[in-house]
């Protein structure tokens, strides 16, 4: 596609030529990936829209090294499928993974629900190929998991919304898939947010993600089950399913203990630090510890995923 307003380069060299030409002609450019997060900011009128979806593919998957190199236009679902074949994953958790691209997800600095335990996407980036506005092709980092050679430009590009460079290729660390993942949700009364966060924080296991939904009073606990398919939650759920060839994922509805006006739902990945270890301890399946309300004030940090 190249009708003057839109272009779809097929590789790094073509992208470099396009950007260099636009720069010299003083034309403004917008970079578009899967177009799933375009609502995150204003969309100013531009002279040229460049699609990255034609620069796609997993170029170098090294399962034994737990690293992967992927082109920017690769869909998140395609990357997840490739990794899942070797029981590996990346915790990006962006919406619409069949449309969303790796480049777009990184450019937007999307922070999915599981960032609570896995950190933001930039923590998984170890190298990059990028094209600057003048057409310069610049690499940074490499395919090793520890690298302090020069400035960490790859991480700088994450969250820069294509204003510093166009990402062409990202080198990423991957993770072994946790042996089991489970989601829980609980209906809770008014005024229990702080106490719940405190209890969640002090749980023996660390939840991979947690959401808080306000305004739950009109739902019965049966309706609560439907929440597991609510869009926000399903990002995490879907990536958990993608990562799991077998249906080891299950949802548990807790007994309603109070008149509910809010709901908490959270996801447990067994032992992020040691994926081979299994969960047998029944205590870990009890999501809310049975102990007196915790009066200590806590901040919202644990549920920071709730707004996404």
């Amino acid at each position: 596609v190249n009708d003057g307003q839109r272009a779809a380069p097929v590789d790094e060299a073509e992208l470099s030529t396009l950007l260099g030409g636009a720069d010299r002609a003083g034309r403004t450019v917008r970079i578009t990936g899967g177009n799933t997060l375009a609502g995150m900011g204003a969309r100013p009128a531009v002279d040229l829209e460049i699609l990255t979806t034609t620069i796609a593919g997993v170029v170098d998957f090294e399962p034994d090294d737990l690293t992967v190199a992927v082109l920017a236009g690769t869909r998140l679902s395609e990357l997840a499928t490739t990794l899942a074949e070797r029981r590996q994953m990346l915790p990006f958790d962006a919406p619409l993974p069949k449309q969303a691209t790796v480049g777009g997800t990184l450019a937007a600095g999307w922070r999915g629900p599981r960032r609570h335990v896995y950190g933001p996407p930039r923590d998984w980036v170890i190298g990059s190929h990028a094209v600057l506005a003048d057409g310069t092709v610049a690499r940074a980092g490499g395919m090793v998991v520890k690298n302090v050679a020069g400035y960490d430009l790859s991480r700088l590009y994450v969250g820069s919304f294509g204003t510093l460079s166009v990402l062409v290729r990202a080198n990423l660390k991957t993770l072994p898939v946790p042996e089991r993942t489970r989601a829980f949700f609980a209906a809770l009364p008014d005024g229990s947010l702080e106490r719940t966060i405190g209890q969640l924080r002090d749980l023996r296991v660390v939840p991979a993600a947690a959401f808080w939904f306000d305004g739950f009073s009109s739902f019965s606990w049966r309706a609560a089950a439907l929440w597991s398919t609510a869009p926000a939650w399903s990002y995490a759920r879907r990536s958990a399913e993608v990562a799991f060839p077998r249906p080891t994922y299950s949802t548990t509805v807790l007994r309603q203990r109070w008149k509910a006006s809010s709901m908490l739902t959270y996801l447990l990945s067994d032992n992020v630090r040691s994926p081979i270890a299994s969960s047998r301890c029944p205590a870990r399946r009890s999501p809310l510890p049975k102990r007196p309300p915790n009066a200590r004030a806590v901040s919202n940090c644990v549920t920071s995923g709730s707004s996404t």
Binding site: D65, L66, N147, A149, L156
Partner: protein, 470 residues
């Protein structure tokens, strides 16, 4: 004795900081001329500010006097990053060494740059927390220096390097202005690019860092192997099996012998290679983890497997590991550490090169390194009075560096580029790559007054590095 040419500078620094915080006598300057790298350079003045405001004042005075600035933590860096090779003013952070705030609820702390790494973990231990990045120098190295080099350490295998643990920074920029960054802010992730920039983009005056909850259980195991290649293949197999232990370290016979002589830490001295493996997690998981790793070790011909039973035994093993470089003093008066990182599956090949290098250059090389990350640290023993040995170390170190690059690796895994490896940057990056980094430098420090002659290859100013417009 103060050089009269710098009287104006010295007077203004004393006015701003007081005489006690400004060092200008030759013996003081000499003490700040070196770090743990071999080369040195003499500063014009050394200042020991006590606050962000004082750091800002020093930067402004130095700028007015046309003097470059070198920030310095504990001087434990191995690549000459804190050496004032272009003279100028050294800012020592040793008086800014406090834990400024501990936010237990959110598991984070704000610290001053001169705080010693281990002191942070000690300070928050009573809250059940610790600071994860643990370079072997953690008893002396500072958080500010760790941020400058994006320091690693044995536990970075599972917890990530320093950049994964810095949540926000307060910096003094090249103009002496104070700026703060936070990973939670929208906009550019300046925290990420400042971490690992080796003091060339700004001077960190305080940092918010992430704290971790202490694990409820820890297993530490020692596996011995009949040859080093089998041990490195075991490491590759552990990672390939999808097991990422908390730490996965290797040491060879040369190092294990020196460590045992110095510390009696509990390592076998008759094995060609020893793996030190740690897994932290839930108490009921540790046994299953031990079985899985021990099984892989056995498949690769491990001749023994030992589990540290008590905290004392675990501490002794770690003290031996972290004191390994010092223990080599029993082998030779000097050592040079090469710091390269290769893809983990290339570990056996990289170790073969190290062995060949030792043979070819007739050197004693000890290996003690972060095997799980593919991060090698061949320790090349020498006597600096013997010029043949010095030449052999330089050439042998270069051969290992080149081999790592050829295996798809990098020139530094965690020690930094600094002064030592700046010319090697051209071996892994193109002119355009380096020019792009130069453009970032110019945004922060257009006059290149912050830690000059570091990271970027010698003789390159930005104007020379940026390719002409096409």
């Amino acid at each position: 004795m103060a050089d009269s040419a710098h009287d104006g500078l010295h007077r203004r620094l004393v006015e701003a900081l007081g005489a006690g915080a400004v060092k200008t006598e030759p013996e003081d300057l000499a003490a700040y001329s070196f770090d743990a790298y071999t080369g040195g350079g003499t500063p014009v003045a050394v200042v020991l500010p006590a606050s962000t405001r004082e750091v800002s004042a020093v930067v402004k005075i130095a700028r007015d006097c046309g003097q470059p600035i070198v920030a310095r933590g504990a001087g434990t860096g191995l690549c000459g990053g804190a050496v004032p090779v272009a003279g100028g003013v050294v800012i020592g952070t040793s008086r800014m060494n406090g834990v400024l705030e501990v936010d237990v609820r959110n598991r984070r702390a704000r610290v001053a740059p001169g705080l010693i790494n281990l002191d942070l973990s000690r300070a928050v231990r009573s809250h059940g927390l610790f600071y994860a990045p643990d370079p072997a120098s953690q008893k002396t190295s500072t958080i500010g220096g760790n941020i400058a080099t994006n320091a690693g350490g044995p536990h970075c295998l599972s917890y990530g390097t320093t950049v994964n643990h810095v949540l926000g920074l307060e910096i003094v920029d090249a103009d002496g202005e104070v700026t703060t960054t936070s990973v939670d802010d929208y906009g550019y992730d300046l925290t990420a690019v400042l971490t690992g920039s080796e003091g060339t983009l700004g001077i960190v005056t305080s940092a918010w860092v992430r704290l971790q909850r202490l694990p409820e259980a820890v297993g530490v195991w020692v596996a011995a192997f009949g040859d080093i290649e089998a041990a490195s293949e075991a490491v590759s197999s552990i990672i390939a099996a999808g097991i990422v232990p908390t730490a996965l370290e290797m040491m060879d016979r040369v190092i294990a012998g020196a460590v045992e002589a110095a510390f009696k830490a509990g390592y076998p001295t008759d094995a060609a290679a020893v793996l030190l493996i740690e897994q932290a997690g839930y108490a009921d998981d540790i046994a299953a983890c031990e079985r899985a790793i021990a099984e892989i070790a056995k498949q690769h011909g491990a001749v023994s497997w030992r589990s540290a039973r008590t905290q004392t035994e675990r501490d002794a093993l770690w003290a031996g590991r972290k004191g390994a470089a010092g223990a080599t003093g029993r082998i030779a008066p000097n050592y040079y550490t090469q710091d390269v990182c290769v893809p983990r599956s290339k570990l056996p090949a990289a170790l073969r090169v190290v062995e060949e290098t030792a043979r070819e250059y007739d050197l004693t090389i000890g290996n003690v390194f972060h095997a799980g990350d593919g991060n090698l640290h061949p320790l090349m023993m020498y006597d600096r009075r013997d010029l043949r040995q010095v030449a052999a170390v330089v050439e042998g170190g270069n051969a290992i560096l080149q081999a790592a690059i050829d295996l798809g690796g990098t020139i530094s895994g965690e020690h930094g580029v600094g002064y030592e490896k700046r010319d090697a940057m051209t071996r892994v990056y193109s002119t355009q790559d380096l020019a792009t980094m130069g453009r970032v430098r110019d945004v922060f420090d257009p006059h290149r007054s912050l830690n000059p002659e570091k990271i970027f290859p010698a003789g390159t100013r930005c104007a020379e590095m940026v390719p002409p417009p096409q």
